[in-house]
């Protein structure tokens, strides 16, 4: 809102002039816009409620899913910190900086070919609803202009989700929210099952699932699927 011209320019780039753009499509175009304009290798809009309830609303670019999935799998990373602190986390070179802050994430992201990651919170006052995550396959800081664009894009995404500002009355929003976290359902179910098997709390069960993934080199998702299909138990 402090930079209405910038915001208006981005809105014009991602909405249709003659018809209403649905929320889901708007999110997808925001990610595409960021990838194209800022020469990124990935951009994702992630909705969050707590560290372990993240839903990818939209993404673009080959690295978008890599970075968000890694953070959910490992339970650490810049987007979780940006969400928790409601402040941007800017990492122009993952190999040089902050490797100590997120040892598992930094190593895994580099191994996947991601060298820079920028995570901007979608927030209102003291509360956050998610993040806009940008990543690049080469190190380097976002230019001031690109950073301003990215912040404006984060605001547009927030207002589209929270106030339906750009697609009033679009039933697609409810649908989007309903399906956004579907790829994590199996993990939540498995967590409940593990909690029952071990007579443990849900957070402890999730930690056990994460530890098992880390120790075996498989993904949490794969192990969760085994648990839900009763091929793996945690009390044996």
């Amino acid at each position: 809102m402090r930079d209405d011209g910038r915001r208006a320019r981005i809105v014009a780039a991602v909405t249709d002039r003659d018809s209403t753009t649905g929320v889901a499509e708007l999110m997808r175009r925001l990610c595409l816009f960021a990838v194209d304009e800022m020469a990124l290798s990935g951009c994702a809009l992630v909705l969050m409620s707590g560290d372990d309830a993240a839903s990818v609303l939209a993404s673009a670019g080959p690295h978008a899913r890599t970075v968000t999935t890694l953070q959910m799998e490992l339970g650490e990373g810049p987007c979780l910190d940006a969400y928790a602190s409601r402040a941007p986390v800017l990492l122009p070179d993952l190999s040089a900086t902050n490797a100590n802050r997120w040892p598992a994430f930094a190593a895994a992201a580099l191994a996947a070919g991601v060298h820079a990651e920028f995570s901007l919170p979608l927030s209102v006052g003291r509360r956050g609803i998610g993040t806009l995550d940008l990543c690049r396959d080469a190190p380097g800081m976002l230019s001031a202009d690109h950073l301003s664009d990215a912040l404006a894009a984060a605001d547009i995404a927030r207002d589209a989700v929270l106030y339906q500002q750009y697609a009033p009355g679009d039933a697609g929003l409810a649908e989007l929210l309903e399906t956004a976290g579907n790829d994590r359902i199996v993990i939540h179910q498995a967590t409940g099952m593990i909690a029952a098997q071990l007579d443990e709390t849900v957070p402890n069960a999730l930690a056990r699932l994460r530890a098992a993934a880390f120790a075996s080199g498989r993904s949490m998702y794969e192990i969760a699927q085994d648990v839900v299909e009763r091929r793996v138990r945690f009390d044996e």
Partner: protein
Amino acid sequence: MSESGDETAGRPAGIHDGDQRDPTGRQTILARAFVRLADTLVSDFDIVEFLHGLSTDSVAVLGADAAGVMLTDGRGGLRLIASSEERMRLLELFELQGAEGPCLDAFSSGRCLQAGAADSRARWPVFAPHAAEVGFQRMCAVPLRVRTDVIGALNVFRGGDEPFTDDEMEIAQAMGEVAAIALIQERALREHSLLTGQLQAALNSRVVIEQAKGMLSEYLNVPVSDAFELLRTYAREHNRKLSEVAGGVVDRTIPSGTLTRRPG
């Protein structure tokens, strides 16, 4: 600094002049009042306390005897929210009841006004005599307005009939504007955090429902889809929300065994 030898050089004239003309420290009071008016971002913001502060600050800054604030109820009517003293409260209630008076006029016109009780009997036949009777001869009212959005009005009263100066009217108007901005900002923040709260609750309830399904399916040795039906049946029969029941299962305040009745 080079100017430091000369007290007046390089300083805005108003500040120095103000110090001399203002031995009672009106500018200090005014500055404090404005800081207070802008301070709605505190976590324990209380609207009644805020408007009470506006009333008492107006009395101090404008050399008045009483003040009160009315806010719109959102349906075109006004409600008395705060006043600096009891006498004032009764008078403003009287104004609302009689549907005439300076506060109502400032609110409906969106303009500042002042009047003497003695010469307003034609304008406010019920209110003006009543104001004089309880001891107020002079009154001014300013709208609480941000651009075209009028959300209420501030009423300031004097016991004597000395008119408010142009300066005083401007100060009153400025206080009304700052208070209105603060109130609108606070309202927006409150609405936004309500919305984010609802969104977060919706997301969290989906997570906890999936966790509860997994837990039930393990404890009761049933497929996950049946576990969902058990949750729904229990919620319906106990007239509780699905997410509440799921939360109860997950934190074990609802024993899984109590959900075993197979769906219809």
